[in-house]
Symmetry: C2
């Protein structure tokens, strides 16, 4: 088993990664000296696949386990679902040393984390991500929350888990489209932080599905991604500055997701398009070369991701939405732009003209 | 102006106290280098008294100020009010460096703080308490939250303000009953932490109303109370252990409030009754003397507070409710019991028999 430490001023924790590690969840949690009550939160499909393994593993270590399912998908990620989670927590009389375990993708993880952050002013929280996206991104770093009807993730808290347990084998049941979407975030780390990871992906034969990718490479790139995220988050937990680079591709990606009502385009696809767009802005501003932009473009394609923004979306609509983004500061939209493979800058100096040109 | 520092591992802040300091709110906030957008949250009555002074003071320093009122009272302290607050925050496009200012009592402070803790994963927060209870207790220490239909403060977060600004003069518009209720918390600090504060209250001629109390003494006891709370919170921000002593009188107090539907008995009155009961438990267990118990009893009476639990409440109902309290750990109710004036212990070794005896 590999352990990656997320070092924070308070509340440091480990990411445990290994193929087939899921049945060790109880054992890993037992080492943390948590209370004996556990509420496992999942969605019906994931629970069907992995719920029993997780629960048995916890019961074997003496945990008293309850279970709650939330319908899958972004449309469940709202305050109403959190209110229901509170009711369940009360019903099972969770205490301050009890633990919420999120078994699922980013939606389940974000909601469960927010529930843990705000029930009894904070109870224990453990992440067991079951999508590639959640493994390399959502489950690490303590961002939790739900959507507001008018914007994604506007409601939330920074709240760190006690443990993230990653078993790459569970990706075998992940729909292929979701696998590709997760790969967008892996590529992101290659661009913003880890050139070697980018090269590994470039050199791989195939990276577009669980079936096609080499299993060892899969574990390696998950680990490198986690390591990258852990390093960035350790340096800037609350996103004062550096952590913003993790939003590479996300500013425009969120706008695209929002304009397609979060159903035509999945998050990772939006990020892929956003990265291509950010790359084009960087090119327009002479921040990096056409060759580097092409390498990024080719890798995103290799992951089986779309690289073109849907043609029915208007540049003006995208630009207007950008101004609603959480990352707006003093009215200026901040962009994360690449300067070379493995390095980005944060800038609010992108003119509307450049944006219009690139988006058209 | 007096400043008391609340020292924390992260996010230390000051409590600024002085009679007539309210018009300096803008100046004090300006020193903190916050963003220029401010949403002032209040209730209609308090806003009517002090809203304009606060807003003018902020505008004079260049802040752009919006205002939102929430109906007064515990019945507003729920998730629906928070959802509305989110809508207002979105409407005014608050950004991550924007600030929510709570101008009001504990309910407004708790809700505004929870809103600040969870909007955009945390924006700035400033407390301007306008009740004695909020000045000496609720506004300090970072406990924020709302009620669940089945229990007080079950939903919430630890979230520290950037500043607490206390102007004792605003207490002139506080209803007398609320003044007395706040005094219960002041007496609490005398019992749990600061014998000298207890003696000041014992030696004072009158302490039962804003009109009757010596103005200098009022400022002094607010400062000593803030100092006591700041010291305790600095040592144990998240209530791992020591901070629990601040709940002296609250465990039974909450049960009494709950059984009277939060309308017959106000919080401070419940705390007063809870302290008398805790004193009686301490006496039954030979933890302190009858003389000390009597001194506490007399001082609570001197503040004009009721000392007897309403006769229609049944001991069994109170005891059953205790088991629902947030402070339950591994199924055991923890009590804070005095060992002398200025000192308490935390114990879960109070038998049901002793409870029944004392409550009957």
């Amino acid at each position: 088993m590999h352990k990656i430490s997320v070092q924070l001023p308070q509340n440091s924790y480990n990411i445990a990664i290994a193929s087939g590690i899921l049945p060790q969840l109880g054992e890993q949690m037992n080492q943390l000296k948590l209370g004996k009550k556990v509420l496992l939160v999942s969605n019906p499909e994931i629970f069907n696949y992995y719920g029993e393994i997780a629960i048995k593993s916890l019961q074997n270590e003496g945990f008293e386990v309850f279970h709650h399912s939330i319908p899958a998908g972004e449309q469940s990620k709202n305050l109403e679902s959190i209110a229901t989670l509170y009711d369940i927590a009360l019903q099972h009389r969770l205490e301050r040393n009890s633990t919420l375990v999120a078994l699922g993708g980013g939606v389940i993880g974000d909601m469960t984390g927010f529930g843990a952050a705000t029930w009894l002013r904070g109870i224990n929280f453990v992440q067991v991500p079951t999508t590639l996206l959640a493994m390399v991104d959502a489950a690490i770093g303590g961002k939790t929350g739900v959507n507001h009807p008018q914007g994604k993730n506007l409601i939330g808290a920074f709240y760190q888990p006690k443990l993230v347990l990653i078993d790459p084998l569970v990706l075998k049941t992940l729909p292929e489209r979701e696998f590709k979407a997760g790969m967008a975030e892996v590529i992101k780390y290659g661009i913003i932080w880890d050139e070697k990871l980018f090269l590994e992906l470039e050199n791989a034969e195939k990276i577009d599905s669980f079936t096609n990718i080499n299993p060892e490479l899969l574990q390696t790139i998950i680990m490198r991604s986690c390591q990258a995220k852990a390093e960035v988050v350790s340096k800037d937990e609350k996103e004062s500055n550096l952590r913003a680079i993790l939003n590479y591709g996300h500013t425009i990606g969120h706008a695209i997701e929002s304009l397609t009502n979060y159903d035509l385009i999945v998050h990772g696809e939006g990020v892929g398009m956003g990265m291509v767009t950010a790359g084009n802005i960087a090119l327009a501003l002479n921040l990096w070369t056409k060759e580097e932009g092409d390498r990024q473009h080719i890798l995103i394609k290799k992951a089986g991701l779309p690289t073109e923004i849907p043609s029915h979306l208007k540049a003006d609509d995208i630009i207007n939405l950008l101004n609603n983004d959480k990352k707006v500061k003093d009215g200026k939209v901040r962009f994360i732009l690449p300067t070379k493979i493995g390095e980005v800058v944060i800038t609010d100096q992108v003119s509307r003209e450049v944006l219009v040109e690139v988006l058209r």
